[in-house]
């Protein structure tokens, strides 16, 4: 965990040790406790669980279909996200920063809420089909098809693409484009030869993330598509639930091999790419969106309509569900229900959930950002070790959330006997630590490329002038990559707010529940009202938080 030059100093060692300890306790050990079932039987090493799965044609089909839908989901997420990145990076318009902040919102919405919104928006009698019918067009049969699953995956992931790529776009050095233009390149040629190579790592990062997320998708698949469209994760969930742990472990191992393999390949590419890039001293100027009307701006208007249908539509539908009574009339009684729940002795109180979510998220950011920076430093150079460490550090992405949750449950939640004592990690601080472990890879993925593309001579000069390694990091490197750190922090906050699997395991019926947990718990019988009301509160609180974070935290060099 040393810096890139010289012997490690104490602050690096301490930060490295704490990071490693957290990862071992809250990630590697719990996950290993599940995966070990795949390679050990009665204490003897064995390959039979893995071979059983590999010998079963059913699983080949299952993995094949899972990869197929993830590919489609990734392509659609890119198709919907890249134009958004372009608009955010290249155009100025009122509310641009707010829109940029709100790109994190879909990320934190519980899947049940998204399913409700999608069923309402895209269903047989939804607004989309009513609009089509009004225009004399045939209705779209989207529900229970692969199409709606892919669309729902894009709802979650296209904003992620837009966010990551827009950040990269804003750090493209305008002077490189100007140089190309002055040498006679057409705007198109300059874009292709100068801008595209600088955006490629960001596009690939986001595509890789989307592929991995949608490869491991499960509640959306079952809610909107059904068992006919089952993914690997659907099967894995069932194996865990019915305690067929060997088969679950075998599936999880195969799943992790695929996703970790992708991560490794990507890291190789990213580091190589980043070496040629640089931190933009001068980002390109933004054009005004509402100026003249031309072909580009018309296309953007068309894009805005698509965004309204795909992103705003389901969210508005969900909000409407929270104010619609059983008989279809408007009613605020579900919000009155939430107010009344503030005083209950038994059960989940909305204000406690809001407070917990915000406190945990702040804590998760405080832990995940240093962790992410430490791992970024350790993996910034392009060596085999750095790539292996970097890949392992990405484990929270690559391992099924179900496996992590189950592993946490049977290790740290239950407690582990060490020398006759039962050591147990539960409660609020454990949730914060688990959120930080889930979030720090996002910090790494935003900070590492920026760090590795920095000119080493800057650090070397400061060292030559007598600065300690730590001092050089704090005074030279971190300020230069501040925008990336801020972006990573915003991600960490969002991950913490939206995290569900580990939280609900660690809460264990106690008082540390969060907003997504509350949404799940309010899914009362025969009415979605209380859950959608709580979901709307979650939407409001997180939306406001994201806007505040980015206004206060700023985007460093991006926003002047």
């Amino acid at each position: 965990m040393a810096g890139r030059r010289g012997r490690p100093e104490r602050p690096f060692l301490v930060a490295g040790a704490v990071t490693a300890a957290l990862l071992v306790v809250l990630l590697y050990y719990p996950v290993a406790s599940v995966l070990v079932e795949a390679i050990f039987e009665d204490g003897q090493p064995t390959l039979s669980p893995l071979l059983d799965v590999l010998a079963d044609p059913f699983y080949w089909d299952l993995f094949g279909f899972t990869a197929y839908q993830a590919t489609l989901s990734t392509l659609l997420s890119l198709a919907l996200g890249l134009p958004g990145a372009y608009v955010l990076a290249r155009y100025g318009f009122p509310g641009r920063r707010t829109v940029q902040s709100l790109t994190l919102v879909p990320f934190v919405l519980p899947s049940i809420m998204v399913a409700v919104g999608f069923a309402a928006m895209f269903g047989t009698n939804g607004p989309l089909n009513q609009a089509l019918a009004g225009l004399g067009l045939p209705k779209l049969e989207l529900m229970f098809t692969l199409k709606i699953i892919v669309l729902a995956h894009a709802f979650y992931n296209a904003p992620l693409v837009a966010r990551i790529v827009a950040a990269a776009w804003q750090s493209v050095d305008a002077r490189t484009v100007e140089t190309a233009r002055s040498l006679g390149a057409s705007p198109r040629r300059a874009f292709r030869d100068v801008v595209v190579p600088q955006l490629a790592p960001a596009v690939l990062t986001s595509a890789l993330l989307v592929f991995i997320f949608t490869f491991m998708s499960f509640p959306i698949v079952l809610a909107l598509g059904g068992l006919e469209l089952a993914t690997v994760e659907v099967w894995l969930y069932d194996r865990i639930r019915t305690l067929r742990l060997q088969e679950a472990a075998a599936l999880a191992v195969l799943e992790a091999i695929i996703t970790l393999g992708l991560t490794y390949a990507y890291l190789h590419y990213e580091t190589a790419q980043a070496a040629s890039g640089g931190v933009a001293p001068r980002p390109p100027a933004r054009k005004r969106l509402f100026a003249k009307l031309d072909a580009k701006r018309l296309a953007i208007a068309g894009y805005a309509v698509v965004i309204a249908v795909v992103f705003v539509g389901p969210i508005v539908s969900m909000l409407l569900a929270s104010v619609t009574d059983l008989d279809g009339s408007l009613s605020l009684r579900y919000y009155e229900f939430l107010l009344a729940r503030r005083d209950v002795v038994v059960g989940t109180q909305p204000d406690v959930a809001i407070r917990n979510s915000l406190v945990f998220a702040v804590g998760a950011v405080a832990l995940a950002v240093p962790m992410g920076v430490v791992v970024s430093l350790a993996t910034a150079r392009d060596t085999l070790t750095a790539r292996v460490v970097g890949t392992l550090a990405m484990l929270p992405f690559a391992v099924s959330g179900i496996v992590v949750g189950f592993g946490l449950l049977q290790t740290v939640v239950f407690g582990v006997e060490v020398a006759g004592l039962r050591i147990q990690v539960t409660g609020a601080v454990a949730i914060v630590a688990a959120h930080a472990v889930g979030a720090y890879p996002f910090v790494v993925r935003t900070v590492a490329p920026a760090l590795s593309s920095m000119d080493d001579s800057l650090v070397e000069s400061s060292r030559a002038l007598g600065a300690s390694r730590t001092r050089a990091l704090l005074d030279i490197e971190l300020p230069l990559v501040a925008p990336a750190v801020a972006a990573g922090a915003a991600f960490a906050f969002a991950i913490s707010i939206g995290e569900f699997n580990a939280t609900i395991v660690l809460v264990e019926g106690g008082g540390s529940y969060t907003m997504p947990v509350a949404v799940e718990r309010y899914l009362a019988e025969r009415t979605l009202g209380p859950a959608t009301a709580m979901g709307s509160v979650l939407l409001l609180v997180t939306g406001v938080s994201f806007v505040v974070i980015e206004r206060v935290g700023g985007y460093g060099g991006f926003e002047r």
């Binding site: 399913a115 269903g123 047989t124 529900m143 059960g347 740290v412 990690v425 409660g427 899914l523 209380p530």
Partner: protein, 345 residues
């Protein structure tokens, strides 16, 4: 009683220690900790808070009820027992027969007590609801799985109606792997067509475009959005919606699949006496009425105090059917697995 002293985590580092300190809730005697599911304690008018208030009020000692809602349900306790981890709960509320089978498959030691003789009111429980041959799980309510349908569009009366061409794409069911009503509906078809014939029937259902969604919420929400005119649900549906055209209850072949829910005392309960007292209380006519109405299920006794309205809108099938513990043990997993593979293919 096997209760261990908790020691703050040393090896797990500073955070772990602090995490432990946040969770020092040593349950002493006089607390009945009830493990149950979400809707028992949360949502609109849940029965949990009512039970706590009434039970505590009618006693002259300081016994209190606390609730736990483990996400993994009874699995949480199976795993704990397997790993010799302490069990913090005294009573489990919401046990199904299939969970009981899983407990018996997975564990050699007893997770729950057999209460024969200790629970006076257990005689009051209707015979047809008893599902535990060993007398550990005591039924406290039951649901009947049925169809809910829109009478302006369909009129399902038999299993054959569901595979008829005129009802193509009209039925939504739940995933039997993870949903109670979904599994009950699957078992109902096995009850009707036999272990050798149910997959053929399901092939016909699939050919007729049946939709197998995830949970009851997923399926019912799709039904409310009018994606299909029939959904598998409970025969108490009209308690919420009244006798409307969109909420008719259909008993296929005049049957409904009974799915009784039980409560069971953990073998190492901290306060076994108070736990039995609570179980007795839950079987009184007053509590049975409240449990049924707030849980929107049927009571487990025949003298529950029910509102007129509930009795009017909750329908009992002419012929309740169900599988016994012995019929399911050893078969259930294979039936569900074969079915799931066929659907997912």
């Amino acid at each position: 009683m096997k209760r261990r002293t908790f020691i703050a985590g040393v090896g797990a580092g500073v955070t772990a220690t602090a995490g432990c300190l946040g969770y020092q809730q040593e349950p002493g005697d006089g607390v009945v900790t009830v493990a149950t599911y979400d809707s028992f304690v949360d949502g609109e008018e849940p029965v949990g808070p009512w039970l706590k208030e009434r039970f505590e009020a009618q006693r002259d000692d300081d016994v209190t009820i606390e609730f736990q809602v483990p996400e993994a349900g009874v699995n949480q306790y199976i795993q704990r027992a397997k790993q010799d981890a302490p069990i913090e709960a005294d009573l489990y509320v919401g046990l199904n027969v299939d969970e009981l089978i899983r407990i018996d498959d997975e564990l050699d030691s007893a997770l729950f007590d057999s209460l024969s003789g200790q629970l006076e009111r257990s005689d009051r429980v209707l015979d047809e609801l008893r599902f535990d041959p060993d007398g550990r799980a005591v039924p406290y309510d039951t649901g009947y799985i049925s169809l809910v349908y829109d009478e302006e569009e369909v009129e399902p009366e038999t299993f054959e109606d569901l595979t008829a061409e005129r009802n193509r794409g009209d039925l939504i069911v739940q995933n039997a792997q993870q949903s109670d009503p979904g599994r009950a509906f699957l078992l109902w078809t096995i009850h009707e067509f036999g272990a050798d014939g149910y997959l053929d029937y399901w092939q016909d259902l699939q050919d007729n475009d049946v939709r197998v969604l995830g949970s009851w919420d997923d399926a019912y929400n799709a039904y409310l959005e009018e994606e299909a005119p029939m959904v598998v649900s409970y025969s108490t549906d009209q308690v919420y919606y009244g006798d409307t055209p969109r909420h008719q209850v259909g008993f296929l072949n005049d049957q409904g699949y009974a799915n009784p829910e039980g409560m069971a005392r953990f073998a190492d309960a901290d306060d076994p006496d108070a736990t039995v007292d609570l179980m007795e209380f839950m079987l009184t006519p007053e509590a049975q009425g409240e449990i049924a109405q707030r849980n929107v299920q049927f009571p487990a006794v025949d003298d529950a105090e029910l509102d007129e309205e509930f009795s009017q809108f909750a329908h009992v099938p002419p012929e309740p059917v169900t599988f016994s513990y012995d019929e399911l043990a050893g078969n259930l997993d294979g039936w569900v697995e074969d079915w799931a593979r066929q659907v997912a293919q």
